[in-house]
Structures are given as C-alpha cells and as structure tokens.
Amino acid sequence: MTFDQILFYCLAAIAIISALMVITRRNPVHSAMFLITTLFSVAGIYLQLHAEFLAAVQVIVYVGGIMVLFLFVIMLVNLEVVSTERRFNKQWIIALIASAVLLVEFGYVIVRGGKSSLLPPVTGPAQDLTRKNSEQIGLMLYQNYMLPFEIASLLLLVAIIGAVILAKRRLASDK
C-alpha cells in the first residue's frame, strides 16, 4: 500500500463516517460539525486529485461561508423541543429500502464499469493538471467558460436578492 492509498482510505473513511453522523445526530449543530469534517476530507481528496484550487475553494466557500450560514440559522431557529422530538419521519423504512436499491445499482454500475473499462480513453490533448493549477483554471474560466461563469454570477445575484427578501422581517404594514 502506498502512502497515497493510505491517505485516500483514511480520508474516505473519515468522510463516510462523518457523513453517517450528519444524518443520524439529533442535534443540528453536531450534524453541522460532522458535515464540516466531511467537507474537509473531501477537500483532502481534491488535493490528491491535483485540484489544489478547488480544495481551497471548497474550504473557503463551503466551510467558511455556507457552513457558517448554516450554524447561524441553526442558532436563530434554535428550539428547545428539538432534543426530545422524533428524529426520523414515518416513512423511514421505505426510504431506507429505496436507498439500498440505489446503492446496489451504484455498486453494480461501478463494478461492471471498472471491470469492462467502459470509460472511454483520453480524447484530445491532455492538460498537465499538476502545473499552475489555479492559473490554468482561471484561464479556462475566463476563456472557454465565459458564458457559464457569467450565468453563475447572475445566479448568485438572484440568490442574494432572494435570500434577503425571504429572510427580511415582514413590515407591520404588510400584514
């Protein structure tokens, strides 16, 4: 087993265990903590895949931005009753069965795909992922993917406005 593999299995184990914790913890703050752990190990996996820029973005945006927002909202809507309530909804057995089916499907596809090498071979000139990662991503974003980039920015703008309007306190005159 190489160092690479040991690292991968550690990260994967952390990711999966904490993901399981996310969906089983009673307290949303604990769930959020474990989600942060998952996000970190996913960032580590990005590093293994030579995506340094993406790993940094993952931590900055997900951990530093989205999860702070999550914690903020959890604290705002903090209910005392949460700790005594049922955790799962009534149809959880059906949900588990459905998910099991999904997992089996995934497993089948991956095992089959892995064995018969269904993945098409590399097409086009290979790009060197290891050199100047952020610079190359930047160039591609602003040249090849200009339109999606602009659309993404528009989406964020819409999200900002939408979030503000949704969360805004309703004025007395509106009621």
């Binding site: 705002l76 809507v77 306190r169 309703r170 007395a172």
Partner: protein
C-alpha cells in the same frame, strides 16, 4: 409622565420580534462590568434591539435612611459618606445644611468658602470618574487612566485635609472640623492651573473622534419635557436643555458671590451630556479659583451647642450634588435624634429615565446610557 410610562409599558408587551416568536430576555447585572455596581437591568431584546428595560435595585441596600433615625444628629455624617461614595463631600454638605437650616445657625464665611472649594473639587473628581468609566464603557480605555491621574491629585488634597481619600468627613453641623493645612490654597491653585490642559487632552481624544460621536450622538435622547416629567436633575437635565442648577436657582453657601455659568445641551443626547459635564468641570475649576482668591480669614465653626437639639419641625434642603439635586428632608421632634431622615438621591431619580431612553436602542447603547446617567449604586439603594 403618564405618557412616558405608557411607552415603557407598551415596550414591555410588544412582541414584534425578529422571528415573530419570542423576545430574548437578558439580565444585565447584578454582576456585569458595565452596570457600575450591583445594579440589575432586565432587557427585553429583539436580536440586538432593546424593546424595554426594567431596573432592579436594592442589592446594595444598607438602610442609610433608617440609620439616621437611630443616632444623634452628628452621628449621621460618617454614614452618609458611604452613600454616593464617589462624592462623599457633597453628601455631608447637603445634610449639614439641612440641619443648620433647622437649627437656624449661620455658619462663618470661611467655612462657607472652604465648603464650596471642597465640594467643587469633589464635583470635578466625581465627573472625572464619570468620564473615565463612561468612556471605558464605550471602549476607550486610555481616558479612564488619564481621568484617574487627575482625580488622584484631588484625592491627595483630600487626604491631606480630611485624612481620608474616599469617605471624607470634616463637615460638621455649624461649620467644619478642620481648618486648612499649610499650602492647601497653593495645591488647589496648582491643580486648577494644570486642569484646563487636561480637559483639552480628554476632548482631543474624544470630542472629534468619529467613533465616539457615532456612539453618543443621537443616543439616549431625553427631551426637555420628558426630563422634567421624570424629575431628572443635574447634568442629565441640563443636557436636555433645561437651565436649572440649584446653585443658581436657590443659592446656598456663598454661591451667590461667585461667578459661574451653567452649561446646557441642545438635543439631550449622550454627547450633549458629555459636553455639559466637561464644561461643568471647567466651571467648577473657575469656582474653586474664585473661592480661593476670596477665601476670608476667621473661625470655621459657627455657634452650635454641644448637644444638637433642633426645635420640632421639618426642613427640606437640596444642594446641587455632582449628579443632580441631592435633597435631605429632616424631621425633628425636639429630641437629640432625628425623627425622620429622608434622602432624595439624584441617581435614584435619574435612573427612572433609563427605560424610556434605552427603548429602541441597541444593547451597546444601553451601557452608554447607563454611563451617561452617571449612577452610583450606594446612593440609589441607600
């Protein structure tokens, strides 16, 4: 008044909060760095916005009023030192004058001037404590130590004169116990000559500071009519633009002979009160300098019998203490013990203005407003 009360009550039952669910109730105090003692204010918050406030007092209650009815007239003085403990001298002045009024005693001019000098120095010291703690509440920590540096000079004079720094006591019914020590005048003048430079220093740090202005301008506005309705006195009243000072309105001691101005504010916000108190320190300095110049020779004790036995009757006498009108209502039944000693402490009455002032402000402003009212818990709880 009823209007103000109405506002406070509606504030407490107004449930228009951020999540339309529950308001947050915070107990500020009795253990809190910014409540200036063991004072507790219960804040009803919507996020950071204050919906209402209720004061809970009495943590420092020592039965000062009741103690006055158990000793003879002279014994009350040292107890009163502990009332407004940052302005002990003023407490004694009010009480002694009330009893003198009851007795009908005239005190000698030298004693009058000395009393004025000492109480005005005490006013400066008290205002310095106020400025230091107020600025510290708002986050400017250095000014606190600068203020205490100057206060130290006053306390050194006090220590030499009274033999004590905090609970000073030399005012007696009929005059003073001690005459001045050698060099008293020189030391007072020395302080007064140095003092304008120091006030300029404080104002240089604070007055034009944009953060300071942002934290005090328009915060805790008390309109003149509200201030009068609430019975507020002292710098808080004058900050609201009402030109009322007992030293001018009902001159006692030798204030009629002295020349000084009464500064008033315009808007009645925290910044105005800050300016008013700063100006009051300057005016007190003026008074001290004039009084030292005019200080007559002569006895320091009037004609008072060994045992004080005022004729049956009652008297109310108020002085302008650093924090406002400090009134003493003394009832005599003709014996050597007062029948009733009722105190009207300025902090207690001024504190009433807190709930209407903090309504609609933010949590951070509450400490600024508590600071600007300038309360001393020893005086509130008595």
């Amino acid at each position: 008044m009823a209007d103000v009360e109405e506002k406070v009550i509606t504030a407490l039952h107004d449930h228009d909060t951020f999540l339309d669910s529950s308001e947050l109730i915070i107990n500020m105090g009795p253990q809190h760095p910014a409540t200036h003692g063991v004072y507790r204010v219960r804040l009803h918050l919507d996020g950071e916005k204050v919906l209402g406030a209720e004061s809970y007092i009495g943590y420092l209650h020592r039965g000062v009023e009741k103690l006055g009815e158990h000793g003879d007239y002279r014994h009350y003085g040292p107890i009163l030192d502990r009332m407004d403990y940052v302005a002990s001298v003023s407490n004694n002045l009010g009480y002694c004058e009330a009893v003198e009024k009851l007795l009908g005693v005239q005190i000698p001019p030298r004693a009058q001037y000395l009393r004025v000098i000492l109480t005005e120095l005490q006013r400066i010291a008290s205002h310095l404590v106020w400025l230091g703690t107020h600025a510290m509440d708002i986050g400017a920590m250095t000014i606190f130590l600068y203020c205490f540096r100057e206060r130290e000079k006053i306390l050194n004079i006090f220590e030499k004169y009274f033999g004590a720094r905090l609970t000073t006591n030399s005012f007696r019914i009929g005059g003073l116990q001690f005459d001045t020590y050698d060099g008293f005048e020189a030391e007072c003048l020395d302080f007064c000559n140095d003092f304008p430079r120091r006030i300029a220093e404080y104002e240089q740090i604070l007055s034009d500071n944009r953060i300071w202005i942002g934290r005090t301008r328009g915060i805790g506005i008390l309109k003149a009519e509200d201030a009068i309705a609430l019975g507020v006195t002292g710098p808080v009243l004058r900050g609201s633009g009402v030109k009322f000072d007992i030293r001018k309105a009902f001159p006692y001691e030798c204030y009629a002979d002295l020349d000084f101005d009464i500064p008033i504010g315009e808007m009645g916000d925290t910044y105005d009160r800050y300016l008013v108190r700063n100006e009051e320190m300057r005016q007190s300095r003026r008074i001290v300098m004039q009084a030292i110049e005019k200080l007559p020779d002569g006895p320091i004790m009037g004609k008072v019998t060994k045992v004080i036995r005022p004729p049956a009757g009652e008297v109310y006498h108020a002085i302008e203490a650093p924090k406002g009108e400090l009134g003493f209502f003394v009832v005599s039944d003709g014996t050597t013990t007062p029948y009733r000693t009722r105190i009207r402490p300025p902090s207690f009455v001024n504190l009433q203005a807190l709930p209407p002032m903090v309504r609609g402000q933010l949590v951070a402003d509450v400490v600024a407003i508590i600071g600007t009212i300038d309360i001393v818990l020893g005086e509130i709880d008595r």
